[in-house]
């Protein structure tokens, strides 16, 4: 890993040069919130932002996509339109980069998803450091820092950006910009350490994830799940905005007057009534309480068993997006609380 610095006044130059590597997308403002969007002007980019409504997941696993066309006698033809499009996502926070690394384990591990993998290959990521707000708990989830999964990662230090070069492509971007990237000196290394400590101290939320799977295991019958079931609207908002929710549904859209059609996949959610409904009519998670419970168990316990860590990265999106205020940090705090157990 190479660590360099980029003077702030050279960022515009870098942004214009880097477009030779792909179409530039970055957070832009939308009614006070932020969304990743294709930039029409570099000046629209907002590199100081809290969080985007949807995570970068939308670029790699779109909300809806056609995966293949089928036609009797011709079989299946994969839809590959746009898979080779080169995009640069500029301004991705560490938690969201971490989330992509988690999705890699799902879509590029034992089960390989060619659509996801093609996009992952063709979409470059330039990360940017951030400071936590009142809903961030990425540090607790060990996702406040990433050492891979990006091509470049920038730290805003005030006068310059400190740049971590993560890949050969990232290095190509640096080289293409010419001699504007410089090595760091000793004072700047101290600056980095100071900023790192300040960031650590800025977190207002703290969740202990050690032994959390065990606590979940023991609290399987907690009345909390019924309370959440009474509250939950099963609207799926938490899943849509989650950077690591990867469930999808597959359906066929048949053409009028033929047996040919399109097979599409779209985002799904374990909060939906029909998520665990099977052909016989049996529903393994019929009651709402069992569905919201499942979501927490899969994030905080099931994923740990399968992949060695929770799939939650602490981005705070689900708590922000829940119409009835179900808050993941409060749920975990409540499960950990001793008096609840004693009063049972």
């Amino acid at each position: 890993m190479k660590i360099l610095k980029l003077p702030k006044e050279k960022l515009d130059l870098f942004a214009s040069v880097v477009q030779q590597f792909g179409e530039l997308h970055a957070p832009v403002e939308q009614d006070g919130k932020y969304v990743f969007k294709r930039l029409t002007r570099w000046s629209d980019a907002r590199l100081e932002y809290d969080r985007t409504i949807l995570p970068p997941k939308k670029y790699f696993l779109p909300p809806q996509e056609s995966i293949f066309r089928y036609r009797p006698g011709e079989g299946f033809v994969p839809v590959t339109d746009g898979l080779d499009q080169r995009i640069i996502l500029f301004g991705v926070h560490a938690c969201d980069v971490y989330a992509m690394n988690i999705l890699d384990r799902v879509f590029a591990g034992k089960y390989r998803d060619p659509y996801y993998q093609a996009r992952r290959k063709n979409i470059a990521i330039i990360g940017i450091d951030c400071l936590p707000d009142k809903n961030c708990f990425c540090r607790s989830m060990r996702a406040d820092f990433v050492d891979h999964g990006f091509d470049l990662f920038f730290y805003d230090t005030g006068d310059y950006y400190q740049a971590l070069v993560g890949t050969a492509l990232g290095d190509d971007m640096v080289q293409a910009t010419g001699s504007v990237f410089e090595p760091m000196d000793a004072a700047e290394i101290d600056d980095y350490k100071r900023r790192s400590l300040n960031k650590r101290r800025a977190f207002q939320l703290d969740v202990e994830i050690r032994d959390l799977p065990e606590i979940f295991e023991m609290e399987y019958e907690s009345e909390l799940w019924d309370e959440l079931g009474d509250k939950c609207l099963s609207c799926g908002s938490c899943s849509m905005v989650c950077p690591t929710c990867y469930c999808y549904d597959v359906s066929d859209d048949v053409e009028l007057g033929s047996r040919a059609g399109d097979r599409t996949r779209s985002w799904d959610s374990c909060l939906f009534y029909d998520h665990a409904l099977v052909g016989s009519g049996e529903n393994f998670r019929g009651p709402r309480a069992s569905r919201i419970k499942f979501r927490f168990y899969h994030k905080q316990r099931g994923f740990v068993a399968e992949y060695g860590r929770p799939s939650c990265v602490g981005c705070g999106r689900c708590s922000n997006a829940c119409p009835v205020g179900i808050d993941v940090v409060q749920v975990i705090d409540r499960l950990r609380r001793v008096e609840d157990v004693a009063s049972r």
């Binding site: 409504i53 048949v254 009028l256 007057g257 709402r288």
Partner: protein, 248 residues
């Protein structure tokens, strides 16, 4: 093989769903090439009013004895009966007055003549006859009508979203009108399929497609009350298109 026979009917309603069918302009020739539309009063003056039908599509709610008789007659003629639009599926706007005393309402509108009118509380089709397929919406979506015909011709039932408008709204990455602006949006309990058309235009959802199968209106009502809305106002809003949409 002869083409499947189809009838399209309207009970009490605004005829907007039949209009959606006629508005499928670029698909109409494909459609009539595949099905034989025998009875469609809104589009034709030359109808076969007695023939057997493979598919009957019925719009509107049942508000009169005449509606109920017409619907039963259609049911007898049809192999498959499809409820078209929120009135047919849920009772719709005419069902808003369910539970109210009908006599005084008739008198208020029609005076003394009201007492003799053929008028009853609105019912959805399934409350009168067996319904095989529901296509909800106020009005229905063109694509849902076309996909219903496409699927039925293959012997399949079409698939429509069962999740709420919020899901589509989030997929479109809209700002949340309920959370961020405190507007009384019915998106969390209203069945999707409209691609969040209203919230996309920053207009809160009024629930015109009816509730999702496992809607939790009590929880949504509690949230709206917290935001300062009057309980009655919200209950009325939730039941505007479907009496089933309001908390019990």
């Amino acid at each position: 093989m002869s083409k499947p026979t189809v009838g399209i009917f309207g009970l009490t309603g605004c005829a907007g769903d039949q209009l959606v069918i006629l508005n499928c302009e670029d698909r109409l020739l494909d459609l009539v090439a595949l099905v034989d539309i025998r009875d469609f009063l809104m589009a034709s003056s030359d109808n076969q009013t007695e023939c057997a039908l493979d598919i009957a599509l019925v719009e509107g709610a049942v508000l009169t004895k005449k509606d109920a008789d017409a619907l039963r007659a259609i049911r007898k003629r049809a192999k498959l009966l499809v409820a078209l639009g929120s009135c047919a599926v849920w009772g719709g706007i005419p069902a808003m007055d369910r539970g109210m005393d009908r006599g005084p309402m008739l008198e208020e509108v029609y005076g003394d003549a009201g007492a003799g009118y053929d008028s009853q509380a609105a019912q959805a089709l399934h409350e009168v006859v067996t319904v095989d397929l529901n296509i909800t919406g106020c009005p229905i979506e063109k694509e849902h009508f076309i996909s219903a015909i496409a699927s039925l011709l293959n012997g399949d039932a079409p698939l429509y979203p069962k999740y709420p408008v919020c899901t589509e709204c989030r997929m479109r990455e809209n700002n949340c009108l309920l959370i961020e602006r405190g507007l009384p949006c019915c998106g969390p309990i209203t069945v999707a399929g409209c691609n969040a058309r209203c919230p996309e235009l920053r207009v809160p959802c009024i629930g015109c497609r009816g509730p999702i199968g496992d809607a939790n209106p009590a929880s949504l009502l509690a949230v709206m009350e917290e935001k300062g809305y009057n309980r009655e106002e919200i209950v009325n809003r939730l039941r505007m298109f479907a009496p089933q949409g309001a908390p019990q």
